[in-house]
Symmetry: C2
Subunit: 286 residues, 2 copies
């Protein structure tokens, strides 16, 4: 039986499912205690740099493309003409970079409560911050819950909630009150998309989110599946909720003609991510 | 930083990608040194029983359905009328159980070199062995390479290679000579399907397999993606190779009308598994 030396490995233990995931490291590059959370950066042997927040793996250089592409492109290619986008959380700026690839987008407000996440991303994940100086980008450090409450009604096309899990600072981003303020801020046909955990080990959380989105008044939901090696179970989802309208496909022709490169996302992958395994069909609510 | 006590956790270290995966355990239930490999069975806290071969996680009670369904149903629903099936490896009998759900199937020969795997599966994964006494099932303990060499030409509809990785006993199941004997044993239009590792961390192995299948003379290949929590990266594939014919869809109507239950597989999932991410489109050979 193997044991992992903590000088050579970073390990995230996920107690609720009795599982753990580890990456081999060369060294810890830095750690910061912000007013909100504990942030560590490691240099791994095979996955580039790794950001860890409150003990949970957040971003690695090698495989963050999966998450960032799936948090942005499905929602933006489902919306007919996304111009005004809000990102709640997203401090590593990887989602922002993907959103700004869309020419239709005129403004992106990114509101992460913790400035330290962005400062560390600039230093250790500079490729994710490559678009931070785009004139359409407005990077703010503030409370996302308050920001959504204060956003003008019917002013936003797409809201992306790119947060930590529903414990700690992220907790208030997973309930009906927050979703109601998102609903109000969205224009008709607008889309909220949020990371929604693993169907294999968090079905309760996923269903709680879906129920709260429905209770808040969203008209339709879609949960999309994708692989994410460094998150518990390696299988992750995001859930899209639409205001006033049902989902009716996505802009497949525009995906095919997209003038930017992606490493994971394409039209077939978008369609594929919507396929639900039988156990999800049986268990999903909303 | 967390450390995992080896009395409470089983850990598989995957050195080539500097990653590790662990499941929390109550106890080791048994271990056996067979003539071929070292087999351990653990009782985990959250995933039921776990079979480990030569240090690698093979099967857990909770999530083996993903692998076994994807190793069987896509190939059997792609073939127009699968009657005679061969499983090379597959000693835990989970793939056999799925294959026998298909009414068209008249015989399944399962050839695993290691009888101990099946004996332990009968004891610790009895649900996987539920169909072992089906009169259509022929369970043999022998060398799969030799078996395929000696199989009558054009006598098999589907060959499923459900083996360990290409080291140790499984090594000879991943090369051109083996694929040539499979090709000869298949009827025209017949399908070979084999587990083909993780696209995120084993692209070289996957491409070597695809190249060897092409070199052996198979007419067309399809690689399918699916999640598999306990295998390195949590993202796994199988690859189908067809004799004499290209792939032209699958029997979608028969999937919809299937008279058996699955937990993962359905027609949408079959189609979704065929979607290739951009990085795979760029890198896959064959």
């Amino acid at each position: 039986m193997s044991e992992l030396n903590s000088k050579q490995w970073f390990t995230e233990i996920f107690q609720p499912s009795g599982s753990a995931f580890s990456l081999k490291i060369h060294q810890k590059l830095t750690e910061v205690q912000s007013p909100f959370q504990h942030i560590e950066i490691y240099q791994t042997t095979d996955f580039g740099n790794l950001m860890v927040i409150d003990g949970c793996t957040m971003v690695s250089t090698r495989e963050n493309f999966l998450y960032h592409e799936m948090m942005s492109h499905p929602a933006l290619f489902t919306h007919p003409n996304p111009k005004n986008v809000v990102i709640i959380g997203g401090g590593d700026c990887g989602t922002l970079r993907e959103v700004l690839k869309h020419r239709s987008v005129e403004s992106v407000y990114q509101i992460d409560i913790d400035e330290q996440v962005t400062r560390l991303a600039e230093q250790y994940f500079p490729e994710l911050c490559a678009s931070n100086h785009d004139p359409r980008a407005f990077i703010m450090f503030d409370d996302g819950i308050k920001f959504m409450q204060e956003t003008a009604a019917e002013s936003v096309d797409v809201i992306i909630v790119d947060s930590t899990d529903p414990v700690g600072p992220g907790e208030g981003l997973f309930n009906r009150a927050f979703y109601q303020s998102c609903l109000q801020a969205l224009k008709p046909g607008g889309i909220l998309v949020q990371q929604s955990e693993s169907p294999l080990i968090h079905m309760g959380l996923l269903n709680d989110m879906r129920q709260a989105m429905k209770d808040a008044g969203f008209a339709a939901l879609q949960t999309l599946n994708f692989p994410q090696m460094i998150y518990p179970s390696g299988w992750w989802t995001c859930t899209m909720a639409r205001k006033d309208m049902v989902f009716a496909g996505f802009r497949r022709d525009d995906v095919m003609d997209a003038e930017f490169e992606t490493d994971y996302y394409n039209a077939d992958i978008h369609q594929a991510a919507l396929a639900l395994p039988n156990f999800m069909r049986r268990q999903l609510v909303g």
